[in-house]
């Protein structure tokens, strides 16, 4: 049971972080570099999960993705599958909660790099994607890595929204934080302690690994 919670936490967080890293980086670049109508509105909307209580975010997710929800209902009718109370719900909840952190980190990271680098790359005949991959990303590398760490940490620790969307089914949708809560509630102090230590170890390991990546010269040219 405990191992399942650990594995679920790691897998769901890794998946959520992967999605958030890509989508958040692109969104952050867009907010940093492009002027468009509704930019500030989009920024505010994306930041909502940061200011709302996680249970409220979870509630909205349920409204949208639940079996009777805006997206959930047609999805259920078409496929007979619903995201609620599955391990995928853990991924969705983690990703939604981590997304604003990644966008914010990416936006700042891109804003701190000189936009003229991108102009220079374009003047050398490079297209948008090539410029983005070979110039924008490497220049913003440190900030982006910090954003990814933060996102992973945020989704590993996700509790409220996960509880709302995925439930707390031991062996199926119970992540480490939920398991700790259960252990404390049912008086299993030793289990709670071991789980807490495990979660701490995961966080420290991630931080160390990320610190290695962030060092200059460690990524390939």
């Amino acid at each position: 049971m405990i191992l399942h919670a650990l594995r679920l936490s790691l897998m769901a967080s890794a998946l959520a972080t992967a999605v958030v890293a890509i989508a958040g980086t692109l969104t952050g670049w867009l907010l940093a570099r492009r002027e468009f109508r509704g930019r500030e509105f989009l920024d505010a909307l994306l930041n909502l999960p940061l200011v709302l209580p996680p249970t409220v975010t979870g509630y909205y997710l349920l409204v949208v993705l639940g079996r009777g929800g805006l997206i959930g209902s047609p999805l259920y009718r078409a496929t007979g599958w619903s995201v609620t109370f599955t391990w995928a719900a853990c991924v969705v909840a983690g990703a939604v909660m981590a997304f604003p952190l990644m966008v914010r980190a990416a936006r700042v990271a891109f804003e701190e790099t000189d936009a003229r680098h991108e102009i220079a790359a374009a003047s050398l005949g490079r297209g948008w994607l090539s410029t983005f991959v070979f110039v924008s990303l490497p220049l913003a590398r440190r900030g982006l890595i910090a954003g990814v760490i933060l996102s992973f940490a945020r989704s590993v620790g996700e509790f409220g929204a996960t509880l709302m969307l995925a439930g707390n089914i031991p062996g199926r949708t119970q992540t480490l934080p939920l398991a700790i809560y259960d252990a404390v509630i049912s008086g299993q102090d030793r289990t709670a302690m071991w789980l807490a230590v495990m979660l701490t170890a995961v966080s420290v390991a991630v931080m160390l690994a990320a610190g290695r990546l962030g060092r200059p010269g460690s990524t390939s040219r």
Binding site: R116, I119, A120, A121, A122, S123, L124, R126, R221
Partner: protein, 368 residues
């Protein structure tokens, strides 16, 4: 404004910028220049960088036309607006702005496209050869001196074979010797590349040394276009004189040097003046600038002054402006002096009056 010669830059644009902070700015630039190096000169805020970004394609003009070397990059009438990457216009920034995560060869190879690795490296080394920087191919940008960085930036911009090259004050952060050496390199590069260069500078000497055409910008407008020597020797408009930073322009011959006392003697053509010590051989000609406000005017011979030059002359002309009066004094060389309306009244300044001009030796500055 000037005869259009399609081989250089043919620009006629209106660019409006509305920055998030600060006042909106309008650039209305129209000029045509020949092949070679077109120098854009003007005080800061004149619109030089805006002009460059518009030619590069990084900011969209409101309307107009941009043609470089016969290629139409932008034309609002026909709806032409090439993307930056299709303009084939190279850029060298003031701060070089090399990609910090790539080594020198990697920077120069960046624009060489989808050719095999070996070929790209060969191309990069060849480009570095043309700027005399082959031996630093494996260094990172952070390890380079300012001059080396600009050389690499030049090689990077020229490696893909652009149809024009823009230079945004590339030498302004360098010391005089590097600046001079890079100027020579730039002239060679332009000749061998055979494409028009557009060089922004606020160093008049550099403008005259490098430029085949000089475009003077002031407050978003082109105030004068022409061969640099001619523009400098005869600024057509007050705006040009202001942009150049001087109302009095002289060409003279160096007569004597007094290194121990720190001054030189220059014959301006009938009037000999003392200037700060010049690094020009005896008998050679030199162009000197002098601001009108750096000249004091006296109606009597003044004694015991620290000014090295006390020149006798007579007033040839007075022209009244709103805030001040410009007076031309023949010594016999004509000096333009600016005084207040009050001074004209109190001193009884009038045509033909004998006056003396007081000028510090160091008020003369060398232009080229």
């Amino acid at each position: 404004m000037s005869v259009r010669r399609a081989e250089g830059f043919d620009v006629d644009v209106v660019v409006r910028r509305r920055p998030r902070r600060g006042d909106p700015f309008v650039l209305q630039a129209e000029f045509g220049t020949g092949a070679g190096i077109t120098v854009v000169f003007g005080p800061s805020g004149a619109g030089k960088s805006t002009l460059l970004m518009a030619i590069l394609g990084a900011i969209a003009p409101h309307s107009g036309r941009i043609v470089t070397g016969g290629r139409t990059l932008y034309d609002s009438a026909s709806g032409t607006d090439l993307a930056v990457r299709h303009r084939r216009v190279g850029i060298v920034f003031q701060d070089a702005l090399l990609f910090p995560h790539l080594d020198v060869a990697g920077n120069v190879a960046f624009g060489l496209g989808a050719t095999p690795r070996e070929e790209r490296r060969r191309g990069a080394l060849a480009a570095l050869d043309t700027v005399g920087a082959r031996e630093i191919a494996d260094l990172m940008p952070a390890e380079l001196s300012g001059g080396q960085r600009q050389r690499v930036a030049l090689a990077r911009a020229l490696a893909p074979g652009p149809s024009a090259l823009l230079l945004d004050e590339p030498f302004s952060a360098l010391d005089a010797p590097s600046r001079k050496a890079l100027g020579e390199t730039l002239l060679d590069l332009q000749r061998s590349a055979g494409v028009p260069f557009l060089h922004v500078t606020h160093d008049l000497g550099e403008a005259v040394r490098l430029g085949s055409d000089l475009v003077v910008l002031d407050a978003g407008r082109v105030v004068q276009v022409g061969p640099p020597q001619r523009v400098v020797a005869a600024p057509a408009a007050e705006a040009t004189a202001r942009a150049i930073g001087t109302e009095n322009l002289f060409t003279g011959v160096v007569r004597a040097h007094f290194p121990d006392r720190g001054y030189s003697e220059v014959d301006l053509g009938g009037t000999v003046v003392e200037t700060g010590l010049l690094d020009v051989a005896l008998g050679r000609s030199v162009a000197l600038g002098l601001r009108a406000e750096d000249i004091l005017l006296a109606v009597e011979r003044v004694r015991g002054t620290s000014a090295r030059n006390v020149l006798a002359g007579s007033i040839a002309e007075l022209s009244s402006g709103t805030a001040s009066v410009e007076i031309r004094v023949a010594t016999p060389v004509v000096f333009r002096v600016v005084v207040t309306h009050e001074a004209v009244e109190q001193l009884g300044l009038a045509r033909g009056l004998a006056v003396h001009l007081l000028i510090k030796a160091h008020a003369f500055h060398r232009l080229l």
